[in-house]
């Protein structure tokens, strides 16, 4: 085994906190969201007015959604206004053809087993950055906008309705909005699987302790293994 030669502080506390809050929120939102779409538990006993079973699921979904939104905005704020180079998305420049050049292609080739060596990055590799952008940034933005528009429907003419209500005619109807929110929600479990696999695999292949880095903040560089 190679010797540990360097440790790098990559994920500062705000990033780690964001990550775990986000992860917990996504799990809670997915579970409550699926339950709201399909309430499978048995009905409670007694009179309806005594019970708040289903309304609690919705309530939890809304509460967690607001934590999720706050956390998301906090992460954007941190990215834009901190001096944390690994948190700033600075290297992510998909509008420039250069970004899609050698590093990106190398990383894709490596994932497709077309290269022997594994490119290594301290922060996110270009493919990971793109995946985060699509699933986490775009996906969350979509879910937040559609979710807030539906939340606004609970109080027509209210603040949320005034700010986000324009999504209703954009999607055509309230039903379409619910449908889109439901379908797009599935990208999150999909992404969680891909993300976990990629992390575990990189940890095994690169031995950079990427898994524990999101708890401790440190990634490690290991000396290349020499033939004995």
């Amino acid at each position: 085994m190679g010797r540990l030669i360097e440790e790098i502080y990559v994920w500062r506390l705000p990033v780690r906190v964001y990550h775990w809050v986000n992860a917990l929120c996504i799990v809670a939102l997915m579970v409550t969201g699926l339950y709201i779409a399909s309430p499978v538990l048995n009905p409670p006993l007694g009179e309806a007015v005594w019970q708040h079973n289903f309304v609690m699921w919705r309530y939890v979904h809304y509460c967690v959604a607001f934590i999720f939104i706050g956390n998301f905005l906090y992460r954007l704020y941190y990215a834009l206004l901190s001096d944390d180079q690994y948190a700033k998305f600075g290297g992510f420049r998909p509008w420039s053809p250069k970004w899609w050049g050698a590093p990106f292609k190398e990383q894709v080739a490596s994932y497709l087993f077309l290269r022997k060596d594994e490119p290594n990055y301290v922060g996110h590799n270009p493919v990971a950055a793109l995946a985060h952008f699509i699933f986490i940034f775009c996906g969350s933005t979509f879910m937040i906008l559609t979710g807030m528009a539906m939340y606004g429907e609970n109080r027509p003419g209210g603040f949320t309705d005034a700010v986000f209500g324009w999504l209703l005619p954009l999607f055509g109807s309230s039903y379409n909005l619910h449908f889109a929110h439901h379908v797009v929600a599935w990208i999150f479990p999909f992404y969680v699987i891909v993300h976990l696999y990629a992390v575990f695999r990189h940890d095994v292949v690169d031995r950079t302790s990427v898994t524990s880095s999101i708890i401790t903040g440190y990634k490690h560089k290991v000396e290349d293994e020499h033939a004995i």
Partner: protein
Amino acid sequence: MPAQQTFAEVFKSRGISRRDFLKFCSLTSVSLGLSPALLPKVIHAMENKPRTPVIWLHGLECTCCTESFIRSSHPVMADILFNMISLDYDDTLSAAAGHQLEDVRKKIMKEYNGKYILAVEGNVPTKDDGVYCMTGGDSFLNVLKETAAGAAAVVAWGACASFGCVQNADPNPTGAVPIDKIIKDKPIVKVPGCPPISEVMTGVITHVHTFGTLPELDRMGRPKAFYSTRIHDKCYRRAFYDAGMFVRGFDEESTRKGWCLYKMGCKGPTTYNSCSKIQWNEGTSFPIGSGHPCIGCSEPGFWDKGPFYTRLADVSFLGTDTTADQIGVVAVGAAAAGAAAHAAVTAVKKKQHDKESEK
């Protein structure tokens, strides 16, 4: 009948007492959601304003809007309403027919140019120059364009004229479009529903007549007074929804107990209409009241959001019986399978690599 009759005059000539007339006025202001202070204004308008001429066109439709309209709450009221809006042209209800009737339409268009209300029931097939709906020897497409040109405002009756309804459901063989795709330069009030509630229809007309303006519209062009909240928000079964007490089948105890129809595919939570407050047929009942889930008939494209008895629509482009959840589960399963396969290949490659480096 003189052309410029007021409502009060019509009432009088029909032998309806002043008391009934005032009752009608207050009922109308209540259904419009107006404050009691505005009641004198309604009465004043009904007594003094000449009746608004209305041309009522029928396009590609089933006439259920007219059927609903003529059942407006009170039997006497139904009769009154026929006369009060000065319905000068309606090819379904008129005694006259043929050239005689078409001449009336042309006359109104000329005499009241820019002043009449155009009410449209049904939508417009546009494919093949609109031959799929012919009225009075011309395509409905042309008739509508011609009649809309001189209208003060347009009322789109029902789901057809407002959003398209069954005629433009997939695959829409006649190229049917709602009227706002044809009439671009006139204010349009959409009164969706299949059919709309009769009191909503008469309420919209009374508003236009009383205030001389269109009612306040929401983002989708519907009158706020009737379409600002979802059926779900005022549903009398809402308590069962909040409690999590759902009907699970039509032959169950829960159905007899009248629990929430959410799991039976009720579209009440996504449907903007007044069914749960005004109800139908003199306030007798409404679909959910009769134990049937709302099918969302006043929402755009509701025919394509089927099936009616499940919460989640089929994703039509993937064939029938495929729901969003099935797609999601397949995608997540594929991700897991892909990850496993990738892991296997990684392991094999690593072994090869280790072997090579050992050599």
